[in-house]
Amino acid sequence: MLSPRALILRAPGTNCDHETAHAFERAGGIARRVHVRALSERPAIADDCQILCIPGGFSYGDDIASGRIFALELKTRLSDALLRFRDRGGLVLGICNGFQVLLQTGLLLADPATGAPQASLAHNTSGRFVDRWVRLNAAPGPCVFLRGLDHLELPVAHGEGRFVLRDPALLGPLRAAGQLPLSYAHDDAGRSTNPNGALGDVAGACDPTGRVFGLMPHPERFIDATQHPSWSGRLDPSAAGAGLTMFANAVKAMA
């Protein structure tokens, strides 16, 4: 059996590509980091991959809006290749900045009629970048990446991660359809760990097939127990972290 191949798509300013590639390899996949320029020149590179991942970072500096330029580049130059990839059953994962890119390209939560984005990730209500750990509730539904997960902890690190909907009334229907399968939860003291003011505590979203998934937290930053802020003396330091499950699910689904 061949190991599934994951294409880690990077752009100028992408900065989580190495550890994301590492996470796929730890999960048993084969990861390849590819620059968006190279993919634009040879879209066929994607053809022998089963998983496409857009990792975190500040693509093109996020100077206009987070992920906007990267998304525009994908839509104008690689739209056909991306749709072909999805329609032949490939998995697509967007993490942090990559989640924003997926929303902007319309691969996630687009208006079914017009194809226009219905959701976005706005500046945190604090107005500041924040790096901290959050509690999450997963309700996997159709989402391939979240299979077998219910409660977990992961770190977030972003300045623009507040999930918003063009029409907040869509929250209920999207949730009912299983398209908002990951949300911020409360800690042991009963305090919300929503780090950015996201509508409905939404931390991640998937398409109706469950094969395209985006999330603000960083699963690649919790593949080892030692990445947890309280591991010392409390967790088996050789154990895997909860984030590894998402990569393992993807690899297993495509094996």
């Binding site: 970048f129 802020p229 309280s230 010392s232 003396g233």
Partner: protein, 843 residues
Amino acid sequence: WLPTMHASDVGRLAGRLLANDAIQEIVVGRLAITTLSGGRTWSFEQETIPLAGLDAAALDRLSRERCLALTVRELHAVRDHFLSLGRDPFEIELETIAQTWSEHCCHKTLSSGIDHVGPAGEAHYDNLLKETVFAATRTIRETLGPKDWCVSVFRDNSGVVRFDGDHDICVKVETHNHPSAIEPYGGAATGLGGVIRDVLGTGLGAKPIANLDVFCVAPPDTPAAEIPPGVIHPRRLLAGVAAGVRDYGNRMGIPTIAGAVAFDPGYLGNPLVFCGTVGIMPRGSAEAAVQLGDLIVVAGGRTGRDGIHGATFSSIELSSESETESGGAVQIGHAINEKILADFVLEASRRKLFHAITDCGAGGLSSAVGEMAATLGAAVDLDTVPLKYEGLSASEVWISEAQERMVLAVDPADWNMLASVASEEGVEATAIGTFTGSGRIVLRWQGQVAGDLDCHFLHEGRPKQRLTSRHAALPPLPVTWLGDGSLAAWLLDVLALPDVASKERIIRQYDHEVQGCSVIKPLLGPGEGPADGTVIRGVLGRNRGIVLGVGLRHRLGRIDPYQMAAGAIVEAIANAAAAGADPDRIALLDNFCWGDTRREDSLGTLVEACRACHDTAIAFAAPFVSGKDSLNNVFAWTDGSGTAREISIPPTLLATAIGQVDDVRRALSPDLKAAGNLLAVVGHSQDDMAGSQLELAGGVRGGAVPTVDVAACRAACRAVAVAHKDGLIASCHDCSDGGLLTAVAEMAIAGATGARIDLAKVPCASGTLPSDRVVAFGETPGRFVCEVRQEHAAAFEARCAGVPWGWIGGVTAEPVLEIVAPSGDAERVPVEKLAHAWRGEAV
């Protein structure tokens, strides 16, 4: 509300709160821009600067007017050199010399000959730095012999040491004080950008894997009326520098994992901004050498007029006019350009497409090309350097400190491949000249010679100076106890002091987890308390780790510069040791920030600090591998009553320790783990309250200076390391600001659990200490609090044989800190209350 304000108030408030007129302009109302000027091409003009015949006063004036920061003696050497050639220097040549000879680029004070009289007697140095800091490293390496683990020290852009079988690691800490004083956000951002390029430009290129930042500023509650003209309020300054590091470091995708913030009124006019970067590189790539015939390639951002005279500007004192005079010396950074540049450099390095690399930092191309061409010489066509806009003169191109540029020496046979890697990564790379073998730097503009300098004169022609310095020990002030109140009440006050209080607001703005290697984070444990040293994996998927610790004892700087420096070094080492670092693999960095060292007494404190570096490094067998200095941190102004005033920073040494752990899965953290465990103190406490946090809290005045007993400190570190090696320590924290009680409180906050400690059991140098407050809050360097499981007690005791130590209490399930004073009186304070005080939250 704006229209109801008086126009002058609008301008004043905008200037104080919103804009920085060093780089921004305040426009009330609509901004009307109709055109943007692109500049006009400069046409070549040769400007000669007549030096022959100028007297000393005229030379001094020339140096000041042109912002050269050269002394009259140095200008005499320049004049004589050109007299021997039968001409006067061209302007571009004089600028090149000024950049190369600047304090910033060649540490002329620290490498001076000095005749010193100090408390330990007379001392004579031909080169202070070589005979103290460098000498310590040489002694340690000679003692280690074949086990020497230093690779490249004090030569390259950063210091390089062995890491594992396949990798070396390198580290550099820089200061960016003057630019940050004028423009905090941009100054700190480009400070970090510069030190990241230092790591990229080490050997054949290293990958930056961690950043650290340390800020020294005036107290945040400084009244607005006390702020001199041209100075930014410390609260706004601190927010600005932290935001600068945040935006640059986060965009670069390099975790900012360690740091400190220190406060003192002396930093009002000259805040200190230290930025450091750790890199990793394949073994064997630390050595790089330019080859004859190599192309000079500049890669990255384009060159503009930003950052002209940064190197010389940083070598002179600031004044209330600096903002208007030197706004052009502030560089403008763009992190994504540097991220792309880094991706390109690392790919070109992997494919071995260059022979040598260095960054364009202070002095711009003049310094980068000048250094690389020091032996071979070079010919540079300045008109081929890509520009942001037209109109730059040849000199401006040559000395501009425009950011995000690197210079590479490339074999002409590799040029096409290098250019194609650059294009794949979207980086502009341009060949601007050749390394020639002539031993001269020839600068051309459209074929015409703009300058022609002898490399030997440029690098060796600076007249060495001989200085005198003196330092007299201050008589100790008798200790006076002030105020009353319980130990618990003092503890709450100390935890809330700005030096001790939580830095969470800053830390959480930094991405400290990107790259996925973080192990011991700056905030950790269920209660999110403070770490000592922070730990990262060196390589993803491998278990060997790197530890970073920093030490700063600025409050002792004015009292005892020797103990300030020794204490800072011990604190940095103790930070690393408390995280589980191998005591035989700790490397050090020095960053000296001083006042006006042209004064004998100020220079004397610098000499004393250098002596401390030498002695302490040797005692710990911890070699210095890199360093930097920033002198003349003095701010002068005229106050409202017309009186000339001046503030100088306290003598400040930032010590950085970079340690290693064999297996990150065994790294130590300071959060208390489990009720029932025992608490021990390793290392003895002395009667030394001078410069303590309790003094700041108003609990004491005077007292003896905390003195480093190097043998005792080293023994304490070793005992901790041995006990840790055998798995006997559950948590560990070193005692620094705020002393023992503060350390235990921080462990309890981090562990979100309680503790009971009996101060009578604390081992003291003189048997008993005169006051409860000394035991609780004294800041004797080199002590550790260790948490030990009961079943390991006997084994732990055995490891501590021969070292002062004692059981002082234990961990409790109830989240309360119980303090038993030597008198037997017990006090109880809830850990939540401690946490609130530490976080500055209302109770």
